[in-house]
Symmetry: C2
Subunit: 298 residues, 2 copies
């Protein structure tokens, strides 16, 4: 089943230079509303299965051709389904070809470096897919919402820095351009969950004891800043969705939608690189033939 990445781009990719408003993106989007939801869901799940398979093939090709790496960044409000997307989309892939990094509270050592540093260290090597579960974008999201500049970024004599967020967008764009220029494909996914759906999922976590480990009271507190978060996401996505490193706003109220979209973008984008299996040279072929002869004669 071919991945129709162009259509997905039209629907979900944030285009640089075009006015971007988050409210134009419906978290509950789920395909053609004329079709019954059950049927749409079945189709999406088939698509997901096909794309997961395709992605596994693409990752092998990425590894064999040894020229590109892929960095996929996931950002979202709590309970938007980041962990589930990563699990379901990447589950078919050879674990040697993938590195997932979850960025939590920065360590003292990390705070002692620039806000990009801890992510720089975890960049995927050639042939691999690197997944960032949260990333340096936290530094223009939660940090902005709480107007809580990390101490590391407070430079006396320069604070208060009104230009801080613009400077950071600018640094991020330059950093990602460097990655792309040097052979890392950069894809960014915002899992766009609605406030209502987040509430439902939080309640589900509270009601089911086996989901309590996922629940933290501070998550509910963050919910109180919903509008400020949406403003911060809108500003960040508008400023940092570039031709070389695009953002996708992925509808996340239905998990089967977000998983299908992310799988399609990943498989489709690697497909667009036009990678080829390494050709076996005449020399190599001769060496292989010789090896075969020797082994047969043993």
């Amino acid at each position: 089943m071919p991945v129709d990445l162009d259509r997905i781009d039209d629907l979900f990719r944030v285009r640089p230079g075009k006015k971007f408003r988050l409210p134009d993106h419906d978290p509950a989007w789920a395909g053609d509303p004329l079709e019954p939801e059950k049927k749409r869901r079945e189709k999406a799940e088939q698509l997901l299965a096909a794309d997961v398979e395709e992605l596994a093939r693409m990752q092998e090709l990425l590894w064999a051709s040894d020229t590109w790496s892929v960095l996929a960044i996931f950002q979202a409000m709590d309970a938007a389904g980041k962990d589930g997307v990563i699990k379901h989309v990447m589950s078919g892939i050879n674990p040697q070809g993938v590195e997932v990094t979850s960025f939590k509270h920065p360590s003292a050592e990390e705070l002692d470096h620039t806000f990009l540093w801890r992510c720089m260290k975890r960049l995927p090597e050639r042939g691999r897919i690197g997944i960032f579960n949260r990333s340096y974008y936290e530094e223009v999201l939660i940090v902005r919402v709480h107007d809580r500049l990390l101490r590391a970024q407070r430079i006396p004599g320069i604070e208060p820095r009104k230009k801080t967020w613009e400077d950071r967008y600018d640094d991020i764009n330059a950093f990602e351009r460097h990655l792309v220029r040097n052979g890392t494909v950069v894809l960014k996914f915002f899992l766009n969950v609605s406030r209502d759906e987040q509430r439902r999922r939080f309640l589900a976590r509270i009601d089911e004891p086996e989901k309590h480990w996922k629940f933290s009271a501070s998550d509910v507190a963050e919910r109180g800043h919903w509008d400020a978060y949406m403003e911060a996401y809108e500003a960040a996505l508008a400023a940092t969705s570039t031709d070389h490193a695009p953002w996708y706003v992925v509808p996340a109220d239905r998990k089967w939608v977000s998983r299908a979209v992310v799988a399609a973008v990943l498989a489709g984008t690697i497909g667009r690189l036009g990678l080829a299996w390494p050709e076996v040279t005449a020399d190599k072929k001769q060496a292989i033939d010789e090896a075969r002869r020797k082994l047969m004669a043993e």
Copy 2:
């Protein structure tokens, strides 16, 4: 003795926007030619001693005020005296406040990342001075001279990339801007040795068995590409000497000159940050007083 950094800037700092030609910089420069060389050397050595002392104080202040780090990059032809400068200028400093990294041939893991990556990992943390003995600048110098793009940077479908060097200068400038914006002072030193002086030093290494460990036949081979190297240095310094991260062309035919200049730039630049010792707050003072009382009563 106050460091006259303005005068040193006038003489050796590469100014963005101004025409830069390497031949305008005399590797044998050694101060006022009307004074006898012996006297000039004595004065330079006094200055070096004073600046090394000042630098040690500045580094303590850097550590205590915990807001800035300093990155000093050294690039030069072989036998220009990089190791000697680092040894003599940094010798008075608390080793906990300095990290020196020498970049040699990249490892397989390093080749599997972008050309900035291995240096990113070694950035100095706040309060510290990081010294790069060679750096990512090798990637626009030796790599350019030998037109030997690392395999990691060869992207099929994009090669041959005529814009490679410009792209790299651009990435380097953005990277250094990011560092400065986030509290790392960036200083870059090109130790400018002449071809004749390099020859003398190579012969000295060959003649003195105790210096043989420093000698490698491939160094002499590189000498054959002298003009190509000078072109590459000129282009790189012109493109990447910015207001935020300047290059200094340090006369290196006389070691006492290059050491004095580097020490003066380092101590003077940290001095310009206007750092202050952390103030002891009333609370802290009270806590200290209380601790004293308790200890006295023991």
